[in-house]
Structures are given as C-alpha cells and as structure tokens.
C-alpha cells in the first residue's frame, strides 16, 4: 500500500495545477508535483529530476548524491569480500 516507484520528470504540463509527465521505466504518466515544489523549486526546475511516485503524486525528490554514496559503500564492501 505504501509502495512507490522511481520516475524521472520529463515535462511540466501545467504550472498552476502542478502537473508533470514522468517516465517510469519508459512508460509515461501524468502526476501531481505539489509536494516537491515551493519558491525555491519552481515547477520548471523539476524537469530531469528523479522522484518517488505514489498514487499519482511525486512524494519526494530522490537525492542523487546520497544514493551514489550508499552504493559506493556497498561496492567497497563487495570488493572486500573478493579479497577475503
């Protein structure tokens, strides 16, 4: 029920109603982006961003840097296992 899926915003459709098109693994879908826009992040700035999509809404941005750091740590751990 609480599941969500990552998608990339490819186009803003309506700045007033805060509607955007995301691509979810190649499939396009219109979603509401009200939860991720404010003065600092106007709708137009969201194009290209990765978000988590839940019941037709972008619920948060995915933080690229944090994801990369987590993966790097795990890669290091995996290399350690090979050396072992």
């Amino acid at each position: 029920m609480c599941l969500g899926i990552p998608g990339q915003i490819i186009e803003i459709n309506d700045t007033n109603d805060k509607l955007a098109t995301v691509s979810i693994g190649g499939v396009k879908r219109q979603i509401n982006i009200a939860c991720i826009v404010d003065e600092e992040h106007p709708p137009q700035s969201c194009v290209g961003e990765w978000v988590l999509v839940h019941v037709g809404f972008a619920m948060n941005r995915i933080n690229e840097k944090e994801a990369a750091e987590t993966l790097e740590l795990l890669e290091e751990m995996a290399e350690l296992m090979v050396d072992y």
């Binding site: 029920m1 609480c2 599941l3 969500g4 899926i5 990552p6 990339q8 109603d17 693994g25 509401n32 009200a34 939860c35 991720i36 826009v37 404010d38 990765w50 988590l52 839940h54 019941v55 037709g56 809404f57 619920m59 948060n60 995915i62 933080n63 690229e64 944090e66 994801a67 987590t70 993966l71 795990l74 890669e75 751990m77 995996a78 350690l80 296992m81 072992y84």
Partner: protein
C-alpha cells in the same frame, strides 16, 4: 531501471550477507527484529530474505499494512454508503478484497453497487465532474505516505468547487500504533526496521522516542533487497556496539524532518481523531485522521448517515497476535485451512502485504525456521 536495479544487485546482497553472518556470530545471541511496514514484509517474502539470514535473526512482521488493520465495521459502513443508488464509490485496488462482516467491496459490486477502482485519488475528481447527478465518495485508506495525496485532492476539490465529491476517511498513523505495540508487555523485540515511505513524509525524527524511551534501535529502510539487508546490517552494528539510535538507510529519499509541503497539506485538511479502531489491535488513541470542519462538505461522515457498525473479529482469528509479533501465522488454527487468500477470515490473509498471505503464498505452510537456513557456506568462513 535506475534506483531499482542497483538496489537489487546480487553481488551487493552477497557482500551484505557475508557481513551480517560475521556480525551475528560476534553478537552471539538470537535477535528479533520487527519490520513495521507491510511493504517490507512483501519484499522480504518476495526475495526470500528470511531464508538467507543467519538463523539467529528472526523477523517479526508488524502492523504496517493499512488494509490489514481496517476494522470490519468500517468496511460495513462503507458498503452501506455504496448501497445508495446515487453513489459512485471509489477506492484503491488494495481495498477491494478486504472482508467486512458480510461482504467485501468486490462482492458488494457484484451485487450491483457502483464501485470503481482508481489509481490516484485525483481520478475521483474527474469521475465527479463526469457524473454531476451522482455523489462520488472516495473510501480512503493509508498511512502518512498516502495522506498528503488525499489532502491535496480535497484542496483541489475545494478550489474547483466540486460539490458532489466526498471522502470516507480512514487514514491511520504509524507512530501511535508503534507506541501501542511498545507498551505491550508480551512484545519481545530487539529493534525495528522503520517504514521508508511513511518516513519520507514524516522524517526520521518522530522515531527518536523509540530509541530514547524504549531503548530499541531503529533503522529506516528502503524496499529493495539491498536496502533491507543493509538496514539489518546497520542494526547489527548497533547491537554489537551497544548503541541505540535512529539511523537512516534510505537517505536517498528520507530526511530528518520529512517533506514540509506534504506535512502542511495533511495539517491543513486533517486533524487527529481521539481514537481509532485497528483490526486485531483494538482502539488506539490518536491513531487516525479525520477531515477538519472547514472541509466538512467533503467529509462523507458528515454527508451520509453512517451506521458505525462495530463487529468483533472472528473468534478463531489471531491476526492481533500476528500483528503484535507474538504468534507466527502457522500457529493460527485456521491458517491455510479455513483461512486462505480466496476465503480470508482475517485481514492478514487479504493483502499481499499481510503476514499470513505472504506465508501462504510463498509456501511456508507449516515450516518453522530450521538449521539449514543459514547463509551459504562459502560466505561464513
């Protein structure tokens, strides 16, 4: 797919299992870890994570499935709304099969009620506009993850002055349920895997009381197998170093303070109920949301006469004990016999996120964890 495949990678899973094996050996005592969220329960079974963990680690499947905890009475109430001939009832697919005392929504639909599944609550506004002579009622369920979307839907309905739309609100809150669980003297737990998507809305900060007052560590986790294994690994480090903190494995989505716009939408539209009933767990104070009086015109509880049925759970059903982690599904007398996904007696059998359905579906009919279920030998060393 980006942000999915990397977190399903075999190689990283093996490395984590290898570390988990070493750490659990060093800790040298059995550990009980509860995954609160039904989404985690589902992933754990889907990827066979329980099977590959060292057998000193036991996962307890918590109450975090909004469908599983929906009391029968609320289901009967919503069916009574749907039986009005001028009503179109809409809901998420997950809610369709939950048994009420007589029928599920699916059965009520078969008997002629106009019940439609929607992907997003916003879809209901379209249905309302397309059917001006009907009343569209959204049966809304879900935790904090889903509440922002329904709040924003009400705000949009208000902005567009849609008058034939309302919601029957059944949102529940994770933190009060965790408090109720932690106050239960039967509960024996060493730590928690915290719900990732609830936390993306509320942040990690609301869990601090668990580490501070109840002295149990929490790691907020993502839903892919690498996420879950990494969270277990992080918990094991805490046990080993005798730390007790709230940590965040899912930092690509979760922050300490959550999503402010989402929280603001919830607070504008909803307020906390004095108490709300959870199937299997009973009444839990301050654990549900209702629509604020400013938005009463969108509140189905104000628009319709609700019978407020109260229906006791089936006598044989031990969902409550399962949800508290006191019993395992196969310990329930009717598991897999009178109670199956086709004919669920209790709610844990209804949704694929319920513990009983997961055990049933993935063939753990009577199996109790056994010794061979430790990690592959080459990884132990």
């Amino acid at each position: 797919m980006k942000y999915v495949d990397e977190f399903r990678d075999n190689y990283k899973c093996e490395a984590l299992l290898w570390q988990i094996g070493k750490l659990s050996h060093m800790i040298g005592r059995p550990l009980k870890i509860m995954e609160v969220c039904g989404g985690h329960t589902h992933s754990i079974f889907k990827y066979g994570i329980e099977e590959i963990l060292p057998n000193t680690i036991e996962l307890i499947h918590g109450p975090g499935c909004p469908v599983c905890v929906m009391p029968k009475g609320r289901l009967d109430d919503v069916i009574s709304i749907a039986e009005n001939s001028n009503v179109i009832l809409t809901t998420f697919g997950d809610a369709m099969r939950v048994p009420g005392s007589k029928d599920s929504l699916l059965q009520a639909r078969a008997k002629g009620a106009d019940i439609r599944m929607v992907y997003s609550p916003l879809d209901c506004l379209q249905i309302a506009q397309d059917n001006p002579e009907k009343e569209v009622v959204f049966f809304c369920i879900g935790f904090e993850t889903t509440a922002p979307s329904t709040a924003l839907t009400i705000l949009q309905a208000a902005a567009e002055k849609i008058s034939n739309f309302s919601m029957f609100c059944n949102h529940v809150l994770v933190i009060p349920a965790l408090k109720a669980l932690l106050n239960n003297p039967d509960l024996q737990l060493d730590g928690f895997i915290g719900p990732g998507h609830v936390s993306m809305v509320i942040g990690t900060q609301p869990y601090e009381f668990i580490s501070q007052e109840y002295h149990k560590p929490v790691v907020v986790s993502g839903f892919e197998p690498v996420d879950i294994l990494q969270s277990i690994w992080m918990l094991l480090w805490q046990f080993l170093e005798k730390r007790c903190e709230v940590e965040n494995q899912y930092n690509r989505l979760v922050t300490e303070t959550g999503n402010h716009q989402a929280l603001e939408a919830i607070n504008r539209v909803f307020e906390i109920r004095e108490t709300f009933e959870w199937r299997g767990l009973g009444e839990i104070p301050h654990s549900g949301l209702k629509i604020r009086s400013e938005y009463a015109q969108f509140d189905a509880e104000k628009k319709f006469t609700i019978p407020y049925f109260t229906v006791a759970d089936h006598k044989a059903c031990q969902c409550g004990e399962i949800l508290k982690g006191v019993l395992k599904p196969w310990e329930c007398k009717v598991f897999g016999t009178a109670c199956t996904p086709e004919n669920p007696i209790g709610a844990c059998m209804v949704s694929s996120e319920g513990a009983c359905a997961a055990y049933y579906k993935y063939g753990r009919l009577s199996q109790i964890r056994n010794a061979e279920r430790s990690i592959p030998e080459k990884l132990i060393k």
